[in-house]
């Protein structure tokens, strides 16, 4: 039994926990382009000072937060009615509808993001469609804007929102709603007082599962966003791969973790609670 505990413990300690200590250590060093690896160890806070003083990093931090929060809200607004409709469908349809939500998750993330390039591009399929239907004569190109990034996040993470919402809504006892209707409650107030509170754990889980990866997203802002779209994951990537500034990239990684430590702790607590609640 001790071996069963030790195997995952040692593996994760060595390859997951220990590396974070290294990131912190490197973030305190300085960039040394002539060395290989390009780092001179030290105990300076200059990289963190730069994060606070340089507008680029502050702006990237804030706009990651804003983009992820907006996209999470849109995903919730789209995902909630979908999850509700699936949970209320007949059992035979329910499994098919669920499978159709899960299927995109099994296909390549990169290719699902790529799919939007052709749709949103200048003179792309969406613009052609808008001109053809006469809805807009000179539509502005969406690719390369923050809207494209939001759309990409909503699209890529919608299944992560629908599944926990569905799990919460499926358990809901319909007789509660009938009782409310019989007692004279309107559908909207029955929803607000019964359905919504009972599905709240699903809402929280879904929002965290979208928000947390969206904040650190790299592929979506890189492929769908433009030069003006700042996101912290992309800044980290560029510092590392383009500028080869490992210490600064490490400091950016830590600032990203600081942003996410609250949501991640909340997610962990909820995950533990949801397993305890089972019989």
């Amino acid at each position: 039994m001790r071996l069963v505990i030790a195997l995952p413990f040692v593996w994760l300690g060595l390859f997951f926990l220990l590396p974070f200590a290294l990131v912190l250590a490197i973030a305190l060093g300085t960039n040394a382009p002539d060395l290989a690896p390009p780092v001179e160890l030290g105990l300076g806070l200059q990289n963190f000072a730069l994060l606070f003083t340089d507008d680029l990093y502050v702006a990237a931090w804030l706009s990651s937060l804003r983009i992820a929060a907006t996209a999470t809200a849109i995903t919730l607004l789209l995902g909630y009615p979908m999850a509700y409709a699936i949970a209320r469908a007949s059992p035979r349809w329910r499994s098919v509808l669920l499978m159709l939500v899960i299927l995109p998750f099994w296909t390549s993330f990169l290719i699902r993001v790529y799919a939007w390039i052709g749709v949103l591009a200048n003179n792309g399929l969406l613009e052609q469609f808008l001109r053809w239907t006469g809805l807009a004569q000179n539509p502005e190109t969406i690719l390369g804007t923050e809207w494209a990034v939001q759309l990409g996040i909503v699209y890529a993470y919608l299944p992560f929102m629908v599944l926990p919402l569905y799990a919460a809504l499926e358990k809901l006892d319909v007789s509660l709603l009938e009782a409310a209707a019989d007692l004279g409650a309107r559908p909207l107030s029955a929803f607000a007082t019964i359905t919504l509170p009972l599905s709240l754990p699903g809402v929280v889980a879904g929002c965290l599962l979208v928000f947390i990866p969206a904040v650190g997203e790299f592929v979506i802002p890189d492929l769908l966003g433009g030069t003006g779209t700042l996101m912290i994951g992309k800044v980290l990537w560029d510092e590392f791969f383009t500028n080869a500034d490992w210490p600064l990239a490490s400091a950016v990684a830590i600032s990203l973790l600081v942003l996410l430590v609250g949501p991640i702790a909340l997610f962990q607590r909820q995950q533990a609670k949801s397993l305890e609640r089972r019989p």
């Binding site: 069963v4 990169l110 009938e178 490490s250």
Partner: protein
């Protein structure tokens, strides 16, 4: 594609009066549900469908239809770089899914069955955290570990091994969660009966527990396999200069714009994923 979901009535009790407000609103609700689902699924599937259709396009321009052609399919089959990248990705996915299934099984078992030991809280956090850790952060931290260890003990060289280790590390969580959920739902009396009849814990695990949680381990393995095949960010950090996996190749090609060969690849991936999902759905239904 999507049928009208029939509005669901109460599971047990019939409504007291057929004219209850709840009943009269149902037709309108069904129509609304249909609209919501049609819109939602169109959003999920239309972009992918367009990519698949345009893989048969004659033109190089992915947004202009110029007639039916299979020339991009022929080009992909002859694309040596793509084929060897796919082969590397497959081998890494096989190795890392298998290792992640073994370690994830151990982790899920401990989470479900060992209520207290020194470091239990840390253990729980360590297992779950990689699920939500931003990949850029995990990528840079693992690279620093590999570079550091290479400097200290001359091992490991970056490539197959480091990519596999990275993929195993973030897949463990997904296997563990699936296994844990299955073990928590599971009827303990079967294990207790085996123990009462004199089976050792190990024999009980092999003959009773393992067969019952095998579907969970299988779907965990499949999840780890898919995650490994699809991973770009972690791989890009730890791959080194020599190895190029399929997502790395796709990414470098997509950055330069749309490429009809990527459309072909997308069509193949969607076809494989769809058949795998249908197959696994069929298998679990047979077991149930």
């Amino acid at each position: 594609m999507i049928g009208l979901p029939s509005p669901k009535r109460s599971r047990e009790a019939q409504p007291t009066s057929p004219k209850s407000r709840y009943g009269s609103a149902q037709a309108g609700r069904a129509r609304l549900a249909f609209t919501v689902l049609a819109f939602g699924y169109a959003f999920l599937y239309l972009p992918i469908a367009l990519v698949m259709i345009y893989s048969f396009n004659e033109s190089r321009l992915v947004t202009v239809w110029a007639g039916f052609s299979t020339k991009w399919w022929e080009a992909l089959v002859r694309n040596e770089a793509m084929l060897s990248a796919a082969w590397l990705s497959l081998r890494i996915a096989l190795v890392s899914a298998t290792a992640a299934a073994a370690i994830g099984l151990a982790a899920g078992y401990v989470l479900a069955r060992v209520p207290a030991f020194l470091g239990r809280t840390l253990f729980g956090s360590l297992v779950i955290a990689p699920m939500v850790m931003p990949e850029v952060v995990m990528g840079i931290s693992m690279l620093l570990l590999f570079v550091g260890s290479e400097r200290l003990i001359g091992w490991p060289d970056r490539g197959f091994l480091t990519i596999a280790i990275a993929h195993i590390t973030f897949s463990i969580a997904f296997v563990a969660v699936v296994v844990q959920a299955r073990l928590v739902d599971f009827d303990r009396s079967l294990e207790e009966a085996a123990m009462d009849l004199g089976a050792t814990p190990w024999t009980t695990f092999i003959t009773v527990t393992l067969p019952l949680i095998a579907p969970a381990i299988g779907s965990g393995w499949l999840l780890a396999f898919t995650l490994s095949l699809d991973d770009l960010i972690l791989t890009q950090f730890v791959a080194g200069a020599q190895s190029q996996t399929l997502p790395m190749l796709v990414y470098s090609s997509v950055r330069l714009g749309v490429d009809p060969q990527i459309n072909v690849l997308a069509t193949i991936i969607v076809a494989i994923a769809t058949s795998a999902l249908i197959l696994s759905g069929w298998l679990t239904r047979r077991r149930a």
